[in-house]
Symmetry: C2
Subunit: 361 residues, 2 copies
Amino acid sequence: MDNRIYNFNAGPAALPLPVLKRIQEEFLNFKGSGMSITEVSHRSKWFDEVIESAVERTRRLLKLDDHYKVLFIQGGASLQFCMIPMNLSVAGKSADYINTGTWSTKAIKEAEIQGKDIKVIASSEDKHFSYIPRDLKPNPDASYLHFTSNNTIKGTQFAKFPDAGGVPLVCDMSSDILSRPFDVSPFGLIYAGAQKNIGPAGTALVIIRDDMLERVPDNIPTMLRYTTFADKNSMFNTPACFVIYTISLVLEWLENDIGGLAEMEKQNRAKAALLYEFFDKSGFFTGTAAPDSRSMMNVTFRMPSEVLEKKFVAEALSEGLGGLKGHKSVGGCRASIYNPTTLDAVKYLTEFMAAFEAKNG
Amino acid sequence: MDNRIYNFNAGPAALPLPVLKRIQEEFLNFKGSGMSITEVSHRSKWFDEVIESAVERTRRLLKLDDHYKVLFIQGGASLQFCMIPMNLSVAGKSADYINTGTWSTKAIKEAEIQGKDIKVIASSEDKHFSYIPRDLKPNPDASYLHFTSNNTIKGTQFAKFPDAGGVPLVCDMSSDILSRPFDVSPFGLIYAGAQKNIGPAGTALVIIRDDMLERVPDNIPTMLRYTTFADKNSMFNTPACFVIYTISLVLEWLENDIGGLAEMEKQNRAKAALLYEFFDKSGFFTGTAAPDSRSMMNVTFRMPSEVLEKKFVAEALSEGLGGLKGHKSVGGCRASIYNPTTLDAVKYLTEFMAAFEAKNG
């Protein structure tokens, strides 16, 4: 283990150990180039292969057809919040949103700053975003319908994606991208900050459908146009090379070591089930998300008191279990169990929780 | 050398070998955290120390007083081209530019897209940007005066910065930031893509003065406002953690191993002099920049024919000298000799050039 901890951070988060070891091994001399991956030109054959691998692996894993482009854009999901209404809202049509928490709220705010006609068609704010709204009534005349597939802070996740008829879905998948297979065809745009399921911080992965590119106006700044990135294979300017390189290795691991998204989902379900089944039996640890909205990625929970929660987080860390503190805006505890987190790590955590309950319950 | 080459790439470019070795060494377990630097939270004490070190070292190296903030913003210099007019142009005042080549031209274009009132007060386009304009007549009523301190493509550099009276200077220093000491006080904003002198690709370093922050309008997207980054120490959202970490190590090397900017300039001058003095004696290799505008960072040159240039680049590479091809827009050859490039590397290059000339001249 090289004295490594079990890392339950919400993002930046754990990466697969074989990926980290490979980066370390080839760090001074990338594939015989005589240079570090951080030193090769983005216009070189070495980096061409890297970005090609990242794009093609994404295409294969998500079964993308030729109507989709895979882009890497710096600035995280937060920059996407403003690029989406700027590029994709159509005059005379509303920009529709489902509000399931902090990240959706921020996305809505950026559309508001731009003076867009916004419709929030559903929200779970009435119950502190502890659930995913059902029985949606999407508006058939919207420019798009935006939602956040997984809420990292509240530990909720869409089990089934909304059906918006022909209206393009636009989705922030930052915290569950590539964690399970799904049908991409209703989506006009999918975006994800890399630092949870697929790599280190420093780029967003953006998947965009042809017809969305046709909406991009000419009069917005070059670096804020999706067409700029689509036309130049994400290399209009120097991209976040090291981050894209790491993503390419994580996707290689996902294809070759894990065996693809169906197998990844199976493992993710098994990890989450361990924790949720434990909560359901425990009178001490309580899950905070509504049972039908529980996230496979971020498992949020409380204990009988904040004093106990603090003790739990500190004792867990001393046992090599890190990152279990809840988001500062909500308190409590959280175990983020993205793709790279192993079943063993989750088993070790539940064993520690059982022992902690026995001692303190 | 671990089979490493002498790397004369224009960017991404060579990094100091001791920095690369340290990254490699601590890659699986950053400072006893039990996590890779790519896995630690940006809200952790580990990353706090990293970004604090990067900021404080920049402050010390450039002798910044409390009126300046040091920020890290993703998207490279290209995103800054649009953020500058969006944030800093004042109604009723023109946005002024000096045009010394491709990058200045791109910066001007982004101000045009936004419909700003632009004045190009000087340009070297008449001679294919082979020189830096002199005898400037800055306009005392401008919002700012923008210039590019070093042109990577044409190998030209401002030896002395323009005096614009009280008008704030705004400068793209992507290719010569921290290569020499200078007086920061006339500058309202300095920006630099990291991937040349200070780190890997994936962030811009932005140095902004208080009074510029007061100009930032409220009605622009959150992620495009300098105040968003200034108010949250560049962590409104997850920053490019690995890139900032590497920058912090490069700046540590610059302070401790090199000994600061005055010493760095001395070394950079010595490296450039080796090449320019060689050209001045050679009848075979010819520098392309006007002698009074020669860059210490990017040394551009031609040979008697394109066939010879191609042969030179190929033979150099087989001798372990990489990245000597000129920018595709201008052809010819270029040796980029940023801070991390050693005097030994440049000596080896000039020896190779002399031998090549003897054989082919």
